[in-house]
Amino acid sequence: MTLREGARKLLEEKSVQGVLGYKRGSLPFRTRPYLFRNPQEVEELVFTPFCGTNLARYLLRLPGDFGKVAVVAKGCDSRALTVLVREHQLKRENLYILGVHCPGMVDWRKLAQWKDLKESEVAFEEGTILIRGVPHPLSSFLEASCKRCRYRSPLEYDILLGAEASPFPFEDHLAALWRLPKEKRWEFFAQELSRCIRCYACRNACPMCYCKECFAESHKPLFIHPSPTLRDNFVFHLGRAMHLAGRCVECGACERACPLGIPIATLFLAVAEIVREHFAFEAGASVEAPAPFVTYREDDPNAFIL
């Protein structure tokens, strides 16, 4: 069964109120999230390597009485859904997860160097991307978070559709940063954080940032000034990184949303890595394991304390 057939079946049977998926955007290579309500629309449902948007974010915006909804989910989307169910933001019984194998998401910005490129001029084959007939390795066009993805297929689903996509090399840009001397690392982060205009697009795109009032906009207590200076940006991004510890599902939605192209997911991926390494916890991988900050062990790391 293809994704379209699966979605149409659900809508025809009226077992769901809608199917949240992707349809083509108005610009080439862009897709947009869309809630399919009737079976005739399903022809427009697509799933391509340009469907990076984390749909879990959009479920939070549905009215509470919407009823059951089906959602197209890649590995990271399914992890986000699991976390949101754990945190009582979504009800599992109101979800029908249409799992899909992720082919790896292409950063459309990396296609900008080909002028006036049309969608019909790009094709995908086993691990390669064909641009105007010329093959290039797919891995160099992937988004940074996809390059180090460990769960491309969903962990939680009601039905799993499509075929498993070809593997691509695991590329860890965090390890490369860790290898730099600390002065170089700060130079890099200070430069990147200074560029931030604090539009909050990263927060708004994040499936885990659903607080009604964000610390960034709180006036009492006032944590940061609205002006985008390095030190305020520092508090915003590190504060968010701490809030995402043990919750970040490594989808890269923040980085995709950033209008300045700041590799901001690096911070959140680093936190996810720290939590995985030292507290043996992965967000969205298990429903039962307690979140890292609501539990402790007597033999937790202590060497960093004086």
Binding site: R185, W186, F215, L222, T229, R231, V235, L238, I274, F279
Partner: protein, 144 residues
């Protein structure tokens, strides 16, 4: 006339152990550098990482958070929870290349001498690093 730079360090001390430890250091007339500004908190577990980040934002060159030894928390497990949060923050700051500015310690109420030693070592570490790179643009937008 400007005086030579001295590190400014914000110290969050838990009411039950480290604050009493600092008090003991004081009444015992133990000498330690006067670079810390103490903020008393109920428990190290109540120190939100945002407090530490905000201290750095406001121009602190270093931050010290100190609580009861593991197992001695007045609220039984506050410092165990704190340790997890602090560890993640510590590693994250290390990743950013800001190692050595934020310090954590366990100091009990009877460890006046130890409190003085902790402060001395923290001040020395921050002094070695120089002024905080976040404290540079202090002229504008200072929060109350």
């Amino acid at each position: 006339m400007s005086s030579p730079w001295e590190p400014k360090i914000v110290a969050f001390l838990c009411h039950w152990c480290s604050y009493a430890g600092a008090d003991l250091a004081g009444v015992s007339r133990i000498q330690y550098p006067p670079n810390i500004r103490v903020i008393r908190v109920p428990c190290s577990g109540s120190v939100d990482p945002l407090y530490i980040l905000k201290a750095l934002r406001e121009g602190a060159d270093g931050v010290l958070v100190s609580g009861c030894h593991p197992g001695d928390c007045h609220y039984l497990s506050g410092n165990y929870f704190a340790r997890r949060k602090f560890f993640v923050l510590y590693e994250l700051l290390r990743f950013l290349g800001l190692e050595g500015r934020v310090h954590f310690s366990w100091v009990s109420a009877s460890e006046g001498q130890r409190f003085a030693e902790v402060v001395t070592s923290v001040v020395a570490a921050v002094e070695k690093l120089g002024p905080s790179p976040l404290a540079g643009e202090r002229k504008y937008h200072d929060l109350a």
